[in-house]
């Protein structure tokens, strides 16, 4: 078997050291855990900046702006149209730069303009779409024709009744007494079954993540053993 490169072994050992440092937190908080935590915060922030610059800022702002400014200063061509293109590129950049005013208390109010724009776009987009997908389509799906086998009808009735009673539970504008109280009680029973299902799947999810880390540690161990044998 080909001997692994020393460089690869050292990098994997560094990763294993960080992994075991984090696992050491299970015993108790300690300097190794804190060191690993702070290393990852630094590396993560640096990674974000590099990725944001190379994959997003360059593509969407710097390049189009540079190109349009060069076109503007090249003689010939419709001046007003070229100006408008440069303006379309400059506006989002200026608004983005206004976000940095948050660091200066005297002018931090300027950051409200880009925040207002962002909120406007997301609120405007979400209003029709969330209503349609989360509310209307779901209500449509609850209006099920009761046909088919007895078991299917039972399941469909359970879904219809369960949905209505679940909604009744979340209606807090009236006291949960009488009919509404009964519906709310059935609703919470249905909700508990839903949350129980979520918990069951959550356990699977967490164990999967642990399996992933142990698999890495086994691979690292095998790598080191192979290197030593070679």
């Amino acid at each position: 078997m080909e001997s692994p490169d020393l460089g690869i072994v050292l990098w994997y050992t560094f990763a294993a050291f960080l992994t075991l440092s984090i696992f050491s937190f299970l015993y108790k908080d300690n300097p190794f855990y804190r060191l690993a935590e702070h290393i990852v915060v630094g590396i993560s922030a640096g990674y974000w900046i590099a990725i944001l610059y190379h994959t997003s800022l360059q593509d969407l702002w710097i390049e189009p702006l540079t190109k349009n400014v060069l076109v503007l200063f090249t003689p010939g061509g419709p001046f007003l149209l070229e100006c408008s293109r440069v303006l379309i590129n400059i506006i989002p950049g200026v608004m983005g730069l206004l976000m940095f005013s948050r660091f200066f208390p005297g002018i931090s109010w300027l950051s409200r303009w880009p925040i207002a724009f962002y909120l406007a776009i997301t609120a405007g987009v979400n209003l029709p779409l969330y209503l349609q997908s989360f509310t209307v389509r779901q209500m449509q799906a609850t209006m099920i024709p009761l046909e088919g086998s007895t078991w299917k009808i039972f399941c469909d009735v359970t879904i219809i009744v369960g949905t209505i009673c679940g909604l009744a539970y979340f209606y807090f504008s009236k006291k949960h007494k009488g009919v509404l109280g009964g519906m709310a009680k059935l609703g919470i029973w249905i909700l508990m079954i839903g949350f129980g299902s979520t918990f069951g799947y959550t356990v699977m999810s967490r164990i999967s993540l642990l399996i992933g880390r142990f698999r890495f540690l086994i691979d690292w161990f095998n790598l080191v053993v192979n290197y030593i044998k070679a």
Binding site: T55, D59, Q140, Y201, M204, S205, S208
Partner: protein, 268 residues
């Protein structure tokens, strides 16, 4: 029954570690919601463009990476053309490497058989813009190539150019795919999500907003079984089974101790 929690941690550690050393090959039953994704992809003729946006990061890759591998293997074995994005910033590098690795297994060429658009922030807005034209949020791909220069992207403009979208997602961004890609642009959508999220999306399966749902490592194992390629997920199912049994045992022991203590206190 008060036990120092570190003994429980040790028990879980041992219970997860030991079965990993031996593959037991427990049977895996394929569910309807995973089979529907497999059959839909399997029915597509070679050369069809599919979109497989992947949004997982190192924190969730243990669950979703096996699924990504299985799905990409299926797509490449069927000679489908794959467009990918990664709208989760910390996952960009792993997803790029995963894509390159699986594509190389099948001898697939970049720009001809698959394209990686890369990352842009604010997934909701990006998903909306991609519905109009991929080139608007992504004038270039991850490697800096203009999209129009890639042979595969000729005639491929937006979701309507793709036969389906299979979103592998560990974040709440999956709601954007449902609301925007399917809600606004009516793109046929299936999702692969982590175990924590999967139970929430059965309601969208029932309403027809998604045509398939692959949940967690179990879903990945089912997909591996369907493509006849036993890999990480299938092997992990043995460990999952044993770990779950032990946790259920802990719950039962805890409850027995609770009721025994309660009875003793009542009798006093």
């Amino acid at each position: 029954m008060k036990i120092d929690r570190r003994w429980i941690y040790l028990a879980i550690g041992i219970v997860v570690f030991i079965p990993m050393l031996v593959y037991l090959g427990f049977p895996i039953r394929v569910t309807k919601e995973v089979r529907s994704v497999y059959e839909r992809i399997d029915s597509l003729p070679p050369g069809t463009v599919v979109m497989v946006p992947m949004e997982y990061d190192p924190a969730t890759m243990a669950e979703l990476q096996p699924l990504a591998y299985a799905v990409l293997r299926h797509c490449f074995s069927k000679d489908l053309k794959v467009i990918t994005t990664s709208l989760q910033i910390e996952g960009v590098t792993i997803i790029k490497e995963d894509l390159e690795m699986i594509a190389a297994e099948y001898g697939k060429k970049y720009g001809i058989d698959y394209v990686f658009l890369g990352y842009k922030p604010y997934p909701g807005i990006v998903i909306l813009n991609m519905g109009e034209n991929f080139r608007k949020p992504f004038p270039r791909d991850y490697y800096g190539n203009e999209l129009d220069s890639l042979p595969m992207m000729k005639g491929v403009y937006n979701y309507s150019s793709c036969a389906l979208i299979l979103n592998i997602n560990a974040t709440s961004g999956v709601d954007y795919w449902i609301n925007y890609a399917n809600g606004r642009y009516k793109a046929p959508l299936a999702i692969g999500v982590t175990g924590v999220m999967v139970s929430d999306y059965y309601t969208f399966l029932s309403s027809g907003q998604i045509f398939g749902l692959i949940g967690g490592l179990k879903g990945a194992a089912e997909y591996e079984k369907l493509i006849n390629h036993v890999d990480l997920a299938c092997r992990a199912m043995d460990v999952q089974s044993i770990a779950h049994s032990v946790i259920v045992l802990f719950i039962v022991i805890g409850n027995i101790a609770f009721f025994a203590t309660k009875k003793r206190k009542k009798s006093i």
